[in-house]
Symmetry: D2
Subunit: 289 residues, 4 copies
């Protein structure tokens, strides 16, 4: 499992239920136009932590139903309620998802031993490939190289979605665990991540910038740094605009401009204001330049 994987946005109806047609369109856009290597479903970008369990199951099903045979699918199943996480993991496995992923448990300040026990139980009970989802800015859980080593030694754990900026640690991890996969979670640093040993990248902006991301990733394989730098610079101009009004809501807005019904945000996330929409009107133009 490698390459560019989109952290899928979820189009919602105004009442907070999933907009199935919109979701199918967004999936198709990712596959047919962005041509990304896979989809990461049910993560932060999917606004999954705001959804109920039934909606998460529905999300997994619709995406799987729409998907092509050769697209890799990862289901993010992490939840504070371990029983829910296990049920979701079994469901995703049965649906044919290639791998599971789980955010480190959050809110409470769990010790590393508690976090490790959480992954042990999740992987024992689901018995399916697992990608640790490490996002210290959101969860506060920061791991040392040794901590990562303990997690990677658990049966079924195949890698890490590494949403951090310490590339020396990433390089160290890849070198110590060459058989595991490490995905960048910092889209605006895809190039330095690829250079530093990342096997690929999972990110929200690839909903709109997946093609650019593939170009960077392939350029690095061919040591074509000039191309990689030029395209990363282009990506980052877009990302700067996306950040201004909020990445997820801005992506949805740009999708709508393209005629794709990316739906509403899940409450309490808000939609773009009129002023933010005006700012976001620049994005489409830059993307297509």
């Amino acid at each position: 499992m490698k390459g560019i994987i989109t952290a899928l946005i979820t189009p919602f109806n105004e009442d907070g239920t999933i907009n199935e047609e919109g979701l199918r369109e967004v999936v198709r856009y990712n596959l047919d136009v962005m041509k990304v290597n896979g989809l990461y479903v049910g993560g932060s970008t999917s606004e999954s932590f705001l959804m109920d369990e039934e909606s998460k199951r529905q999300l997994f099903k619709i995406v799987k139903d729409e998907i092509d045979v050769d697209t890799k699918l990862i289901a993010q199943i992490g939840a504070l309620n371990i029983e829910e996480a296990v049920r979701l993991g079994k469901e995703a496995k049965e649906l044919g998802y290639d791998a599971l992923s789980a955010i480190t448990p959050y809110y409470y300040k769990f010790s590393f031993q508690e976090i490790k026990a959480y992954y042990k139980r999740l992987t024992d009970d689901t018995d399916h490939p697992m990608i640790i989802y490490s996002n210290p800015a959101f969860t506060g859980a920061q791991f040392s190289v040794e901590d990562y080593g303990e997690l990677l030694a658990l049966p079924n754990v195949i890698g890490v979605k590494y949403t951090d900026t310490d590339l020396a640690k990433l390089g160290n991890l890849k070198e110590s665990h060459p058989e595991k996969v490490f995905f960048s979670g910092a889209d605006e640093m895809l190039l330095p991540f690829a250079i530093s040993g990342a096997d690929g990248a999972i990110g929200s902006t690839y909903n709109l910038l997946g093609e650019d991301a593939r170009t960077i990733y392939e350029a690095v394989q061919k040591s074509d740094l000039e191309t990689a730098r030029r395209v990363q610079s282009h990506m980052n101009k877009v990302i700067d605009f996306l950040l201004e009004g909020g990445v997820y809501s801005s992506i949805k807005y740009v999708f709508k401009q393209k005629g794709i019904d990316a739906g509403y945000m899940k409450f309490p996330f808000r939609e773009l204001t009129d002023e933010e929409k005006k700012n976001a009107d620049n994005i489409l133009e830059i993307i297509e330049k």
Copy 2:
């Protein structure tokens, strides 16, 4: 609503379900021995964020069923899924809970306007007294005096569970909003909180130290600082021990020593180690001194 309110621990069975008998014993202990003024049910201390919705409903029901007429009951209903929070709020209201409370939405970095919209919807849909649960160390959401003012102006919002140490801000809030209630969330600072204008305190250690807490609170009303100081000092010796192995698990351990079946922790929280138990063996002795 004022005075000492215990943030109730939840005894679990080994499989993560609620240990109903144990729960009833813990409630009775709080009412009959600690004689606290109220119970805060379903908060951090109840390990509620790790429970499924059905268990939370069960928790609300059992506690209500066990309770006396004159004990105030607050149901913490906050959840990242707004629909679940609303359902829980309606249930607690129907059960006869005196007030609701909700943690500020966490994990994502919501803007203040989004957080305000969250409380607006919760209070509109449940139409029952609401206590904002502010715990910046766990959620990252830090409010200014002006922010609090906006939240307190929402219909049904009656006060704040203020789990922070900025007592100047607390004093300012109480003075600007004398008709609202403000509860200390820092048990080891109950005395300075009471001095600074808190109407009462909500805390986990009152499961074991509720009597001490009432003594401090009443001593402050009578300007008996010597007593207040002496008892706070006693409380803090116990709290230091509770912190060493984890407050919730240590409280459960001490309950068991008292013959009250406080049950297991909810996974992934772990139980005390043997060494931590040895340390916790001191607690009971200090409490009863």
Copy 3:
């Protein structure tokens, strides 16, 4: 040594040298009008960390020269260059300062053992009473109760200027070291500090609010909580205004309105803007109410 001690501001000339006349006036105001129990000279409030060694010596001399026999004097001598700190300490001792104080060494992330060695050498070489100046928000150095215990065990160390908000820790420290002195460094929390065991308070706002501070401190001794609360509330209204444009520059501005030449800020600190001055015009009125 106890009671209310003003952290003295330093009036500067426009070229960054000390405005001696202004300094003498500010000292007199503190003694004659505020009637504080002592002065803390050369700390953060004195903008001392921006001054050269010669100016610091001059500051110590002028203040000593202006002072009355019964006013306690503390010289803050901490400096990253240990030799400078020792020289300043010897000078202040010779001038007749009652005690020395030193900020924990900053900029670099020193280990606790290095910090302890720093105080050991300072106290050995100056052989004069020393008050640890702990200000984690400025220095990053955060101490446990055990760490404080080690520092307080050094010969000549007589106490701590505790610029933090953890009152449980303060209470614990005072109880474990009743013979040492602990000063509040959080002016807006003077009342809860006094309740929690502080022997006094050292703060910048006492340049203007020293009288209020004494009232609070004395009211707590007499268990007159109503007075203490009322005056703390008054103080905090002023402090909120002082914070808006910067505490030190706002204090100087108010002094000037009173006809006392409190001089310029030391570069790169800036003066109040016109708008900030308009806001600060309210302060004098509130103070004198």
Copy 4:
């Protein structure tokens, strides 16, 4: 000005004065063996913030005296006392240093406008090329792209020593200011920095790893990623060891093993313990592999 620049360590005598012979040896080693492109003198690595002004002047003089014509020299002159900083800047300019550099003023929480005024005055008064030294982990001063733009627009400001890990921001800065120079301050991320647009790197580990650093930097110019990755990995193994006992003291220890008298640390920095020395004994072996 570009390429690999060593942040020079300072050998001290046991009494805290500069060990001139040792300093000359360390300089020669950097020039003759490491063959770095320049030296950064008087920065954090030089323990400069612990030195008095006279020692800093002496440091600048000795290094200049020992240096070859074609080695670039940068003098870090930043000090909280602006007059000292200006004097040091004039001295370094007169001595023939190619550029000045200054840490952002620290300890106090200066506003951006105050920091900008600081650089304006420094550059006006010294009239010599200036490199902003940005190290938010040590100073707390974090700049946006717009802030950097304002600083870079000041006359004489030629670039930034960027000790941070946000490579997207670095790339953005280089693209917006192609005529300015940006130096990596994160030795263990030299490769991703070089890829992301850094003109060079300034770091402490280049005292021992300057040759490796040059190899990486040159490999990136030639798009030879394989070499760059391999050498960065080698560097990072050494850096991990250096971090264990403290980078500066470990570098000095390794120098001594090589027969170069790198002297003592400046108080209150401590020397390696015996155990740390045993660990550091591995470093030389890895370096020379």
